[in-house]
Structure formats: C-alpha cells, structure tokens
Subunit: 348 residues, 2 copies
Amino acid sequence: MTASAEASAREGSSVRGRALADAARSGDRRALARLLTQIEDRTSAAEAALRILYPLAGKAHLVGVTGAPGAGKSTLVASLVGEARAGGRPVAVLAIDPSSPITGGAILGDRVRMQAYAGDRDVFIRSMASRGHVGGLATSTVAAAAVLDACGFPLIFIETVGTGQSEVAVAAIADTTLVVQAPEMGDEVQAIKAGLLEVADIVVVNKADRPGADRAASHLRAMLTVGAQHDRALGDRPRPKRPDVLLASGMAGTGVSEILAALDRREAKHGAGSREQADGTRLARAEAQLAGILAERLHQQLWDPERAAATEAVLRAVADHELDPYAAADQLLVSVAKGGRDGPTSAT
Amino acid sequence: MTASAEASAREGSSVRGRALADAARSGDRRALARLLTQIEDRTSAAEAALRILYPLAGKAHLVGVTGAPGAGKSTLVASLVGEARAGGRPVAVLAIDPSSPITGGAILGDRVRMQAYAGDRDVFIRSMASRGHVGGLATSTVAAAAVLDACGFPLIFIETVGTGQSEVAVAAIADTTLVVQAPEMGDEVQAIKAGLLEVADIVVVNKADRPGADRAASHLRAMLTVGAQHDRALGDRPRPKRPDVLLASGMAGTGVSEILAALDRREAKHGAGSREQADGTRLARAEAQLAGILAERLHQQLWDPERAAATEAVLRAVADHELDPYAAADQLLVSVAKGGRDGPTSAT
C-alpha cells in the first residue's frame, strides 16, 4: 500500500469510528454492538470513536462481579439485571470470557442470556474476549465500559471468572468489586477465594438456600475482621478492607434487591464526600488503560513494515539464546526512539 | 539519592546479581532460590544475573501443565517428578500461583510439596506469583525457566491453573503443553476446557480409575479429530493440532511413565528434523519475554523521579475524563522519546 493509500484508509476508518460513536450515542444498539467489536479488535475506528466518547464517560457505576467457577456469578448477574430493570434503570453487562483466548469463546452463551431481554433496549449484554492482543483484557474492558457509560448506561456489571491474574485485574478496575461464592466448595477453590477476598468490596454468599450458607457467611465475617489489618491492595491505592457480607440466591432471586441497595449506598457515598477510594480506583483504571495503549503503540512501531525485519532479527537472536532479552529490549527501544517511520537514522 | 550514590547502588546490585548467577550455576540451591526471588521482584540484580545465564540456557524441555481447578494437576506433576527422579533425571517445577495477585499466595503449599524431596537436590519446586508487576506473569516465568535451564535442569514443568488469560498464555510459552482434565466435570469447567484444548499438545484424562474415564478419552479423541481443521493458534504460529490423549491417575501413579515417554518423544522429534513448531514456540517465548521487559522499561522511564509528576498529571487527566487515553499515551511517548533522565528538552 502506498503512503497516500494508507493515509486515506486511516482517514476512512476514522470517519467510520466517528459515525459509529454518534450512532451509538443516539441510541442505535446495533451501532453500539459494532463499536464494541471494533474495541475488541483494537481498530483505528475504535480509537477514533473512543476519542469522542471517553470525555463523555465517567458517570456510570462499574461493578466487577467475580468468583470461582461454579459460584453462580452469571445467574446472580441475571437477577441483578432483572432487579435493576424492575426499578426502571438501564443496565449493561460485560462478560469477560476466559474460556478461549484464541477463538473468542461463549458468544452463544450471550445470545441465550440476551433472549430474556430481547425486546428491552435498556439491557445490553456483551462478551469480551481478549483475542491474544498485546494490551490485555483490562484495556479493552475499560474502553468498552467507557463506551457504554457514554451511551447512557448508569450501571455496568463486569463479570469475570476470578481465577486468573488478568481476570482479577479486571475486577480491580471496577468502582466496586463484588465477590460471589457458594457455601460449599473444594480445596483448590478455597485457595482462589482467599485471593479474591483481597479485592472484595462486597462478598455475596450465593445459593443461600443451601445448607451451610449462614455458617459460611459468619465464618467469612469473622475472617474478614481479622484480615482488615491488611489494608494495602493493588498498587498503593488505599483500601479500607472491610467488605460487607451478604446472603443471596441468584436462582431464587432472594437477597438480590439488598445487593443492589448496597451497591447504591457505596455509589452515593463516593458521589458525596469520601472520594479517596474512588480516586484511587479511577487512577488505577486510567493506568491499566494507558499501559495497554502504550504496549499497543510500541508493538505497532516495532512491527511497522519498515522496522519489522529488524525486530524479527532481534527476536530470533533472543529465541536462539544469542542475545539476552534485556540487551534486546534496549536495542529495540533505541530503534523506536531514533526513528519515526523512516527507520534507523544514519547518525553514529 | 545523588546520581553517584544511585550509580553505586546499581553497581552493587549488578555485582550481587553476578555472584548469585555464579553460585546458582555451581549448584548452590539457596543461591538459586534467592535468585528466583529477585527475578520475581524484577530487581536489577535479577537483570544482571539473567544477562549471564540467558545465553547458557535453551537446552531444557519446558512443559506447561494446565487444566481447570480440581483436575488434579498438582498430584499429577508430583507423580511426574517422582517418575523423572526414578530415572535419575533432575527436574524442576514452577507453579504459577494465581490465588493471590497481591500477597503472593501459596508458598506454604510449596513447602509441603518440597518435603517429599527435602533431601534430593535434583528436585527444585517453586511458586511464582506476579505481584502485580507490569510485565505480567509470562516474563517472570520465562526468566525463571531460563535460570533453571542454565543451572542444569533438563526438564522443567510449569504448572498453572488454566482458567485465566495470563495463565493460558504461560502454558503457551512452554515447548510442550499438557492439559489435564478429570473425567467428570461441571458445565462451567467444560467451557474452560474447550479453550484449553486449543493449546494442548498432550491431553491427560486424569483420575482414570474413576468411572467414565475411558468414555471421556474416546469422546475427546473424536472431538479433537474434528477440531483438527482448526490449526491456527496463538499469534500466527503454525500448530498441527492433533494432541495425544492419554489416560493416567496422578494419585495411583498409573499412566505416568507413558506421559513422560510421550514428552520425550516430542522432545526427540523437535531435537531432530521438524523444527518448525519448535521455532514458533521459541519465537513466541522470546516475544512474550521481550514484551514484558519493554513494558517494564517504559514504566521505569515514566515513573522516573524526574518525570513522575508529569506522568501523574496525565494519568489524573485521564482518570477525570478530561483527556482521552490515546492522546495521553501519545503525550507520554513523546515525553519518553524526547528526554533521557534529563527530562524534557528545551527544543521546540
């Protein structure tokens, strides 16, 4: 592609991105869905759209919902959506799908869940897969949440299975993190749980109709009181760790309105005075997003047509253990810092 | 700290890193353990050590072992270690611990597992936690594996719970990826499994003494034959996807020598002619490691004392939705490209 053809392709996708952003803002749900696909694929249209929408976002309450497999997250989120809709509130769900890093996973599950709300334009449910992109899940998810926020969804659930480092990171970028667990769980799951409790603002003991639920809740409350010393969390943001413990049954629908009320209380508190934690969360979110974009930009520069052969040669030297990766990284950074698209300069 | 004090601190940690590398190479296991801690913490001592050790690595067979929680990975890995030792081979295990992204997790579990081999210096078992570092798990793990490789461990198991995107990525940087599953598992776990099968070179149906194991294995073989069309995997590296399906019981120790034999066959094949897949894996591994180091370098530059205030201001503008993250990323990159440690230049 010639330079001018390339420039005009860039211009085209920028126009497309702006058109998608406008249509999504005006309530076109198909445009919104298409825009989220662009965001997932990290296209330049997505970038153009986000440049418009990002400044309009910042109002929604982002609620991370996480927990071990089998805790009943999806059912609980479905109940929360139902409860929000019963109160007339628009609500969106981003489901982070870890099942396939390659093909993108459970789109089917989405469609099934969407059906219950097929006629309701104030519910938007969407799976996110990272598709092996450089910037990681957190970047796409923050961007998608900003789009939904700018398009008028005041409450956004980010549902993620809480067993992976990226997934926990995603939970941690939400304003409020809700950790779901079932009363009875195996040993390996217990270990996962311990890690998750560190990021919890609210813990929900789900399947509260099962035996042992009350005992599990008391046990948790006792444990969390002991753990409250532990008040450093991701990065250095301050987090007074004393999560609420609530009982619910996503299946039966009990305890769900109490969860929504607890979420609203947290939101109201942050909207009012004590903004310290809210600020920390917003900074962490901005940092996650920036880190992803920076990694992407660097990747683009390294694999730019003019520089790709040199990058590949460096990579191959590392793969062959002829060059150590630190020396390689420094070579690549010098090459990026030196030249724009013109490649290495002739300077000494 | 003055510039000269800083330089001398850097010099000191570089000397310490070289000393650790030499001691670890000569068989000092305590030095090896200390070095791996430095690697996890991404210190400059670790960098100095890795610059020495990396060129000496590249000989070991890195075997990723992954699977859903409850599949019995740890027990199976313990059996594989026992089998390797029975054959007189040194063996190392890196257990990627996702249970706590913050405090670092199940070091205790390690100690328990170590006890069985307390007197055996040819077994080295170690947990890795990412501790929220920028470069992600893959970088630390590749670096740790290179250290173990350079210290003479020819067989290195990298054990990771296969439910997170980072964890699957770690499995994918191994030479060979072994996916473990139990015969009977719930729905959510089934979904996880489908994603994992895409990265599998060998699938082990574990707990083969349980009812349904044979049926599960036949089912898998049929499924994988259908799935063999599907031969693109992470990135663009070619992967003829036709994994072996083996039955085993980590608990009873049955089928374990067959797994080791299958691993050796794969290793021998790659050592001999068909290097295409091996090359792809090595390149992917080098790329994962470089990406992590690049992210780290960029992070260091952005939070350099001279630049931290400016970086924080940009971050805050993004957090407050006053600046879109792409514009912010470009500002930060320009600032890094412009100045070294001297801060922004006065040039126009």
